[in-house]
Symmetry: D2
Subunit: 356 residues, 4 copies
């Protein structure tokens, strides 16, 4: 064992280059396989084949490197090869901006003319026809096209107001028809998707149901666009996967909604994750709006944050508006009255006109 450090290192350098040579040869072979697969429309990525290659390698391994470590190295070889072929290990999400899929913008879905930001407004819940008409008239006067109001209210306690259910749907439908508004309402049960779809234009999947996968699948089979809200402790990646459940089941009109995440901060109801907006715009093909009311839970900073959210290129905002917030059956503190809402609209218009 008379070799010195320098000589040993030289030998290792030589081996490195031999490995380099082999992985490049390997890549050339993979290119040929890729062409063959393209011809026959086969999947590039093939777990079974990988497992067999590893089995063969393990069978021939005489050490000293343990199989576990050999496996790490070959996994990195496999994954680099796949990356070279432009394929990530995970099946590419349809919603990913890396996929070839094209999705409609909100304006395209509803065939709307201009390109000012989308505004969705309305009370937390349908409570009665008078309140809703009052809001609807206001929205129409302000040229706003979307009204939201809950008929099925998921509430932490079973003793809280649970919504007017089908009666609420009817009121929402009739009022919106009179004032020519698109309607958005939450659906909370796979069994209700069909019924709700009869009455409203957009199915909302709420934060608590973001990973109610059966509901996502059912919404995926509906022809109604889906507004999918991020769960309060869901990562952006999980939100993307939830959207994928809808899309892969056939419904390509998914609008994402950032609405704040649960953190330790108490001055806001949740912590609005504004970075989610440009990340979603960059990493997916889907539109995204921001629910200001649930993110913030307070009204006094809503104008600043609305401008921030639009500056971050969100496609729109959602906000809770009620003619008499202090009388509302739920979320009374965070709902704007009509005057406050008007004031918010002025702020937004001032900024948006300037930005154009």
């Amino acid at each position: 064992m008379g070799k010195n450090l320098k000589a040993l290192r030289q030998e290792i350098d030589d081996i490195n280059l031999s490995i380099l040579d082999l992985i490049n040869k390997r890549t050339l072979l993979l290119q040929q396989i890729g062409k063959l697969k393209d011809e026959y429309s086969m999947e590039y990525f093939d777990t079974e084949r990988e497992a067999k290659m590893l089995e063969n390698i393990f069978n021939h391994n005489r050490g000293p490197l343990y199989n576990e470590l050999v496996k790490d190295i070959f996994n990195s070889i496999f994954s680099s090869s796949l990356k070279y072929m432009g394929i990530t290990r995970e099946k590419k999400l349809l919603v990913s901006s890396k996929s070839q899929e094209k999705f409609k913008t909100i304006r395209e879905i509803f065939d709307l003319p201009d390109d000012s930001p989308i505004i969705v407004a309305g009370p937390c819940a349908v409570e009665n026809i008078e309140y809703l008409e009052k809001i609807a008239r206001f929205l129409r006067d302000k040229n706003i096209r979307f009204i939201r109001a809950g008929a099925y209210k998921p509430r932490t306690s079973p003793y809280d107001f649970q919504g007017m259910r089908e009666d609420g749907l009817k009121i929402l439908h009739d009022v919106a028809k009179e004032y020519q508004l698109y309607t958005i309402t939450e659906v909370v049960d796979t069994r209700d998707v069909e019924l709700v779809s009869k009455y409203v234009d957009v199915l909302q999947i709420g934060a608590r149901n973001m990973q109610n996968f059966e509901l996502l699948k059912e919404a995926g089979r509906s022809t109604r666009p889906v507004l999918l809200k991020r769960g309060i402790s869901a990562t952006i990646q999980e939100l993307m996967c939830a959207a994928e459940y809808v899309v892969v089941n056939g419904n390509r009109n998914v609008i994402l909604c950032e609405r704040g995440i649960r953190t330790f901060e108490t001055k806001t109801r949740n912590t609005l994750d504004i970075s989610a907006v440009p990340i979603i715009k960059k990493e997916t093909g889907l539109p995204i709006i921001v629910d200001l009311s649930h993110s913030l839970g307070r009204k006094d900073i809503i104008k600043s944050i609305a401008c921030a959210v639009l500056a971050a290129e969100a496609d729109g905002i959602m906000v809770e508006v009620h003619p008499y917030p202090e009388l509302a059956l739920s979320d009374s503190k965070q709902q704007l009255n009509l005057e406050e809402f008007d004031d918010l609209l002025s702020s937004i218009n001032r900024n948006v006109n300037v930005l154009k």
Copy 2:
């Protein structure tokens, strides 16, 4: 205004005592009202009446104290009176230990003889009959009574293994029957509750569905006991309210399950909130078990934590066991093999025998 500080303070002290006198008189009147209400079985707490009292007070307020501040004071008077009468402002939860309700222990629900801790074990998912039999035989040999295995798997990505569905239910049912085990499986859709109830003994509501209130209601209408897991970012209070949805709908056999919450720590999959165990025991009448596998996501500390959890007086533990974890279709890293599971059982038995 020649009065000095001392004199003014004396006047205030006198007023304080007059107020004291009035609120005690007020309480005496409330006692009489309480008796009347008991006779006629009326609700103690009456929002409308409170609103009317406030209205009357506001109408008579000539200041200088603003109505808003007057309201704060009277709200505190109303709430202290109600507390005195033993009624909290919120409708008391049935599951609360303060209610008069009695709930069965896990042993009482299943009519089990001894009082060693409940152990629930089994694979993440039903994959085939051979694996499940292997585990079932092992459980029976170890005198363990509960097997768990998922037939419907809620998975973050739609491309991950989604479970064998009804075929899985059948396998689970047949194997458990042969080895005389109680079965636990997750139900993920309101439409499946009836079907799943036909095959298994305990309906599991998973963490992602803890606030799927329609599913909770449906489970509440079932005759099967419900194992309700805490959501990864649900507070203990929210877990209690979720249980209330099941109980108020008629199903009193709810077993809670702590399974870790989402935090910034990365050395465990989730952060096991061990304080939840004694808090649930103190503040509710319901049993609670701990899912060690999902809390920890690693096997090397499972023995220490199992002992800790039982020392904190959990009613039992749940753990994922698979004959060949490295081949499992999901959660392969956190499932124990049979040998590791046996080792865990020995640790527990050593501690429990000693503690008795």
Copy 3:
């Protein structure tokens, strides 16, 4: 006890009005006391006096209401009275916008002419004079006035690069002098405040030291403005209290810095809490800037977020810039190169010009 419900309720209403009368009389007396206290410059809020009043009340309480509930009511009376007098229970923070204190804007502190947003840029750490000169020249050419660079680097591991210490301070000082820039650098030890103050214009207190109260006090005794970064898990309230430590010790030039909080989201290094910006503007008299690099930990969304942050009315932004980020000794992934930084500046200018 033949009284019926209606009669009993009437009696309660009468008592309510008597209480109302007494609490208004009480308030009148407090107004007189307030005037006396103003004359003699005494504190309005006096815990000892409250304790004595309660003691007196308890001594006279013959029930049926328990002392504990009586205490709740009187606490609410005390606190409403104080609110009426314009005094919150907690000693008012000097930094609070409710105090009478006026603080300088960043432009006022440094006597800068125009009102475009403040931009602070520079490398994570001082590494050598060449790099720093390159950046300094670029900043001067772009009319940016603030350069940041760390000489003392608080690092998670003792084996990571800890900064050039005094040598770094000298380089920073000399380069900034040549290019006429204001310098910002972190101070990490009470013993270094004096030394660091000799070399740089602004003392930065980093996120990890936000509750190093001794360092805050020492910075409060310095004449240098202080840039105080929010801790990764500090609430906005805690940040305000930390600033108070500096201000109450005599240094009124505090600039706050939002830099993201620790959450479960992994697509960004931390979660930028954009709501903190308008909340700080509303609830304190202090300026606030946003550190984009540490909030995001990625470069590809920095333009969108910079615009969002300024739309939310932040006073400025801070961003890490390095001539060769891939060679940087720390934070290499999040530092912009000069070209990327130039691109960011163009985006900002486009938006800001438009907004003016």
Copy 4:
């Protein structure tokens, strides 16, 4: 290009085996280098050498695989080799259980006889001599050896009680001497380490200062054992690195302390991360105790959690005890009175006697 899929795959399999052969040969060479390095006491891990190997490989790479992907593969080869040699990529922490370092247990540090769990008790703060004597006498009577009390109190608000400082140190020292107790107190400033070391036996570094690295270094230069508390949002890994700062500066007697982390749960003050206990025991050579009072912030579950923590093999517990908690100047709600503390001790003794 007439080759078919099967033939191409065969070629790839052959290349795989050639690579396998080369990485095993490479490992044999590394073994020889390892021996050489052992002879000359050289570091195994050598970043510079890795950088040179990569440079050489890049210089020879003719594609088609891009350098970036080649780098991924070779990084995995380097890291597997190092793992084989028993060396992780990061410089091994001294505190890691993988290092060869041996650390003393708490009993060894203080030369204590029996092996019952360590109990540290005392008031939040030194307030006066009478209170402290009362506690000290009680501790001595119960055969408890460690008293804790703060003389320097890091408080969120500058207007809260900040501790008696040196006067407090003197009282603590004198009382402890009389009752033959070891003392633990927090140090919050690098400039105080020497002074505090004169008066007390153990220097506590509090949660807020866990990443006050200058303080850690100074404590590392002290001869007093250090009790290092985990920060409220620090990961276990960060806690280990913080301990490393003390150890690498020369002080090997570090006792870690889990005290709860900041989460969204509100029923406890912080969320006790019980998994940290077995993880620290497994992954480091250092002792760990649990601060029950700060983790929980409530007294009613302290007995259950104390037993849980000891079952998880913590070396001890810390608990706040005060003769008159309701009069305490800080943390009054979470401090046990002497009777409650006695009750806790009985619970622990019952469990520990049984477990032995």
